[in-house]
């Protein structure tokens, strides 16, 4: 009986979610938190960002950065899992090990990586699977990110495939494990290791030592990180130290428990009854975020306001971004950039409108991918316990004066 009331209440509240109800009770979704301010404290190689924790460091990029296709390195979000991160790495002595089921075990120096392999670049979006998690109610455990646990950069490095080719894979090689250098406080705590199936790897997967033409910042994985375009960032191992080729999948916390969604059609469940079977989050869904205006913007009545933002998916590419300035009643196609940064990059959009009413005006954006996937309204996104993969239509309400 109580349970029925619970759902009834949930249904009513779901309808009200878009206006920002905060006292909700059941598994529903609303706009992510958008009120956090940047911290006065700057972390190494970073400008002041929204800060959740110093140990491990957790930093979010503020919304107004998302007007350009490339996110500056010093404003790029930061997410680590373990308290102990190397604070100094000597680029002259650093090596990455390649071992396991390979014909020739290797230790490759940074200099060898930069000089003895073909150098390649890819521009790709790096987004935490829990980006926008604060949209989920009741709270999905984890960092309550707004929409800035993401960024886009041009990554330069060496193809993973070229390295594996040189090491030579043995016949029964099937999985590759990637270790980062972050360490837990206790030996028993599982290390942050990712495993990828060989069949998942294509030429776009690289080991990157450079980001937007500069060294990776320490907090983004100096001196080397894995880049897997189209995938959520939990697979992009930072401070990569070791690559192990195996013939079978090993059970790992960060693969088997964290970063997973319900393995059903809608990837959803209720807070009371979790779906028993789960799958890794892997590929990103289609999403857009407005960079300007922001909730702090004041725009002039009848002036030409240019709405700007970014849109992306897992690499199919963005077909259109639709903009509404009347609460979703009518939608207009925004102008897109030329897309020359490639299908894994942010596609920037812009749309000019003249605010015709004084007071509050809500701007909404909806991205549509080249395979026809489009962003649902926030309230139509189904709840999952990890708060992963939120991709609701973005909303910003501004004051027109």
């Amino acid at each position: 009986m109580k349970r029925r009331d619970f759902f009834k209440k949930a249904a009513t509240l779901a309808g009200a979610a878009t206006v920002g109800t905060s006292s909700v009770k059941a598994g529903i979704t609303q706009q992510p938190i958008d009120t956090r301010k940047v911290s006065p404290l700057a972390f190494p190689e970073k400008r002041p960002l929204i800060m959740y924790s110093d140990r491990p460091p957790l930093l979010e990029t503020p919304r107004d950065v998302f007007t350009s296709a490339l996110t500056p390195n010093d404003q790029f979000f930061v997410r680590w899992h373990m308290p102990d991160i190397p604070t100094h790495i000597d680029p002259d002595t650093f090596t990455i090990s390649v071992n396991g089921l390979v014909k020739k075990e290797m230790k490759i120096s940074l200099n060898d990586l930069k000089t003895k392999f073909e150098q390649v670049e890819v521009t790709a979006v790096l987004q935490c699977g829990g980006n926008s998690r604060s949209a989920f109610k009741p709270i999905a455990g984890g960092i309550q990110w707004g929409s800035g646990a993401m960024g886009c950069a041009t990554w330069k490095g060496v193809r993973l495939k070229d390295i594996l080719d040189q090491a030579g894979l043995k016949k029964d090689a099937a999985w590759i494990g990637f270790n980062g250098s972050e360490k837990a406080a206790y030996y028993e705590t599982p290390n942050f290791v990712r495993e990828l199936e060989l069949s998942e790897l294509d030429d776009h997967v690289i080991l990157a030592y450079q980001m937007n033409g500069e060294d990776l910042p320490y907090l983004n994985g100096y001196p080397l990180r894995l880049v897997i375009p189209g995938y959520y960032s939990d697979s992009w191992v930072k401070m990569l130290s070791n690559i192990t080729v195996t013939n079978e999948y090993k059970k790992l916390f960060f693969m088997d428990v964290a970063y997973r969604v319900p393995d059903n059609e809608t990837e959803s469940e209720t807070p009371e009854k979790k779906f028993p079977k789960t799958k890794p989050i892997k590929k990103m869904n289609v999403k857009s975020v407005i960079g300007y205006p922001t909730r702090d913007s004041v725009v002039s009545h009848k002036s030409h306001v240019v709405v700007r933002g970014v849109a992306w998916d897992d690499g199919h590419g963005i077909e259109d971004v639709m903009v509404s300035t009347d609460g979703g009643k009518t939608w207009t196609k925004a102008l897109l950039d030329d897309g020359k940064l490639g299908r894994y990059a942010y596609r920037t959009f812009r749309h000019t409108f003249k605010p015709s009413t004084l007071g509050k005006t809500t701007i909404m954006t909806k991205a549509i991918s080249k395979i026809g996937e489009e962003q649902p309204l926030a309230k139509d996104i189904k709840w999952n316990h990890g708060g992963y993969k939120y991709n609701g239509i973005d909303e910003v309400t501004v004051e027109v004066v």
Partner: protein
Amino acid sequence: MKGNMMKKLILSAALLASPLFAQVNGKVEVPYVPFPVKMGKGFDAIQTHCLMCHSFGYIINQGRQSKKFWHGKVIKMVEHFKAPMDEQAIKETTDYLFEHYGNGKLK
């Protein structure tokens, strides 16, 4: 000191030729953030069992939550992250979290 200076000189000389010039020389220092922590019964347990691995920011970022939520978090730390906590430590930390960061609801 002299050694460092020499190292610096060598590094800057190498800068022109070597692709290995690092943006940062020496250690980076992640700032310490003094999060507002509520004192009270059980705080010792928090200090021993939670702050060993993560800052207080992790806790307050979750907002006010039910006792069941906090208990679930503590159990996750024990089961998955292998925090060495006995029954009493689990109870003390859960009680502290619920008392100071609870929403008044058991479930």
